[in-house]
Amino acid sequence: MMNYYPKPMSRLIKELAKLPGIGPKTAQRLAFYLFELPRDEVVGLATAMVEAKDSLKFCAICGHLTDESPCRVCQDTTRDHHLLCVVEEPKDVIALEKTREFRGMYHVLHGALSPLEGIGPEELNIKQLLNRLQTEEINEVILACDPDLEGEATALYLARIIKPLQIKVTRLARGLPIGGDLEYIDEVTLGKAIEGRQEL
C-alpha cells in the first residue's frame, strides 16, 4: 500500500501508525486530514509537539509531569505538606486534582510492581519516596494505586516498608460508583463495598 503514495506521504503515514491505538487505516486518514489542513495549523501542531517534548520533565521532588521543577503543587505553600498521596502515573495526579477535594502533596511512582514486565521496586520511584518520608514532616501517606492486581501488590509492598517509619498509612476506599446501579456491579466490587460499609 505504501508504495502507491509519494514518499513524504508514506513517511507521514508510517510515523502516525507508530502512535498507540492508531492502525494503518487510521494513519492514512489522519495523514490526508493533515494534508488538507491550512499550513499554519499544521505548523501549530508540530511546534506544540516539539515544545511539549522539550520543555516537559518530571518534578525532582514528586515525579509529576511539569515544565518547571519543583512543580507547582510542590511549590504551593497553601497546601497541606504533611499529607502525601502516592499514585502510579502523572495522569492520576490530574484526576485527583480535578476533584478539588485533595489539598495535600503527591508522589508519582511511574508504574506498579509487575515481575512479568520486569518492574520491581528498583524500577519505581520508591527510593525518592523513602527519602521524602525521612526528610519531610509527613503524618499520613495515602496509597492511591490502581485497584488492580499489580496496583494492590504495590500498595501492599509500600505499606510494609512505610509502617516501620511510624507514619500512618491509608488507602482509598473501594466500592460503588456514584450513580451506578447496584444490580450491575460486579461481585468482587460489591463484596469490597460490603466489607467497607459505613455506619450512618
Binding site: 509487575s114 515481575p115 528498583e122 501492599l156 510494609r160 460486579d186
Partner: protein
C-alpha cells in the same frame, strides 16, 4: 433454557443445515464419521465460545470454504436469545440478540452446556490437570463469579512465577516475594473454596448417578486434595492459613526451581470407589467411564440449582460401551427436564424413552428427520 433451532454453515463436514430441535430428547443417529459429533461441537461452540476438540478455529471451517457460521435460537419462558458466531478469514463475528461483540468469550455463560464425550474417560483416568479443567469449566458455568476469581488467581500466579524465575537467576528482593505470595493466597484460596463447596454440593447426585448406572453396586465420592489440607467444613480463613503454611514449607524448593509449587493450579480431585479405591488407579475402563458420566450428570444438577435453569446436555456416543442395563438406567436418568442431544450408532428403535423426542439421521454432513 433450550435450543429451538440451529443453523450450521460451512462447519466441519456441514455445508448448510438448519434443524429444529425437541425441547427434551434429541437423538442423532448415523454411522461413524458422518457428522454427529460435529453437530454437537457446533452446539457447544455457540454456547461456550470454543470447541471441545480444538483450540484452532480454522480447523472448523469446511474444506474450500472461507469461513463458518453458526446461529442458535434459544428460548425460555417466552424469552428468546439468539447467539451467532462466525469465523471468516480469521475475523471473528459474534452477535448476541443481533448486537455485535468483539470476543467469542462473550458467548460463554449465556446458555450453560454440559458435554460428555468418549474422551472424558480422561477425567478419571488422566492426570490431575484433566480433573482441574473439568472443575473449572463447569464451576465457571455454575457460579458466574468463579471465572473472575480464577482469572485473578492466574494473573497473580504468572506474576509470582515471573518473580521466582528472576530470583532463581540471581535477582534479590525477597520482600517483594512475600507480597506476591500474599496475593496468590488471597485469590487462590477463593478458587479452592469454590471447588470444595462444589464437590460437597454435587456429592449426593454423583453417588446417586453412579449407583444407578452400576446396578446399585458401587458408591462414588470425590475429595478435594490440597497440600493445605483444609478442615471438614470449607472455610476461607482456614484455607488461607493452610495455603500459607504449605507455601512456607516449600519456600526453599520454590526458589530453587523458580516457579510456584503450591496452589489450586496443582491441586487434585480424588475420585474414590466404595469410599476406598482410587478409581484412577484401580477402576476398570467401564467403571471409569460410568464415573466420568456420573460427574457430568451431577454438574447438570449443580448448574440447575445455582442458575435456576437446566443446562443443555450433549452426550456424544454415550451408549457405545454400556451394556443394556446401564443403557436403560441412563435413559431413566434423563427423564429430568433437561434438553438432551445424544449421538448414537445404534438403531433408534432400541432407545426406549417416554416423552417428547425427535430423531435425526446424520449422513455425510446432511441431517434429516428420521
Amino acid at each position: 433454557m433450550y435450543l429451538e433451532k440451529i443453523r450450521i454453515d460451512n462447519f466441519r463436514n456441514y455445508t448448510s443445515a438448519e434443524v429444529e430441535l425437541s425441547p427434551r430428547l434429541n437423538i442423532l443417529w448415523g454411522k461413524n464419521g458422518q457428522g454427529k459429533t460435529n453437530f454437537l461441537e457446533a452446539v457447544a461452540f455457540l454456547t461456550l465460545g470454543r470447541s471441545f476438540r480444538t483450540r484452532r478455529d480454522e480447523e472448523l471451517i469446511k474444506d474450500a470454504a472461507e469461513g463458518f457460521y453458526l446461529k442458535g435460537e434459544f428460548t425460555e419462558d417466552g424469552e428468546d436469545l439468539t447467539l451467532e458466531v462466525g469465523n471468516d478469514l480469521n475475523r471473528v463475528l459474534v452477535k448476541i440478540n443481533g448486537v455485535a461483540y468483539k470476543s467469542k468469550r462473550e458467548l460463554f455463560g449465556r446458555v450453560r452446556t454440559v458435554i460428555f464425550t468418549p474422551d472424558d474417560l480422561q477425567i478419571v483416568k488422566g492426570g490431575p490437570e484433566k480433573r482441574r479443567e473439568f472443575l473449572d469449566l463447569y464451576l465457571a458455568q455454575a457460579y458466574p463469579a468463579y471465572r473472575e476469581v480464577y482469572l485473578r488467581f492466574y494473573r497473580a500466579l504468572y506474576q509470582r512465577n515471573a518473580l521466582l524465575k528472576r530470583l532463581k537467576e540471581g535477582a534479590r528482593n525477597l520482600n517483594q516475594l512475600e507480597i506476591w505470595s500474599q496475593r496468590i493466597v488471597e485469590e487462590g484460596s477463593r478458587v479452592i473454596l469454590y471447588r470444595q463447596q462444589a464437590l460437597a454440593e454435587i456429592s449426593p447426585w454423583l453417588n446417586q448417578y453412579h449407583r444407578a448406572m452400576s446396578n446399585q453396586q458401587e458408591s462414588l465420592r470425590c475429595i478435594y486434595r490440597s497440600p493445605g489440607e483444609a478442615a471438614q467444613e470449607p472455610d476461607l480463613k482456614q484455607i488461607e492459613d493452610g495455603f500459607c503454611r504449605a507455601l512456607h514449607r516449600r519456600a526453599d524448593e520454590e526458589l530453587r526451581r523458580g516457579y510456584t509449587l503450591v496452589g489450586p493450579h496443582r491441586d487434585e480431585m480424588q475420585i474414590l470407589l466404595n469410599d476406598r479405591w482410587e478409581l484412577r488407579v484401580y477402576g476398570s475402563q467401564g467403571q471409569q467411564r460410568t464415573a466420568a458420566l456420573a460427574l457430568k450428570l451431577a454438574m447438570v444438577d449443580l448448574i440447575e440449582k445455582t442458575q435456576g435453569t437446566a443446562p443443555l446436555l450433549l452426550l456424544d456416543d454415550v451408549f457405545s460401551e454400556f451394556d443394556d442395563s446401564r443403557k436403560q438406567e441412563l435413559l431413566q436418568l434423563l427423564t429430568v427436564g433437561t434438553q438432551t442431544l445424544i449421538s448414537t450408532t445404534e438403531l433408534k428403535e432400541e432407545i426406549a424413552f417416554e416423552g417428547p423426542r425427535k430423531t435425526f439421521k446424520v449422513e455425510k454432513g446432511v441431517i434429516s428427520s428420521a
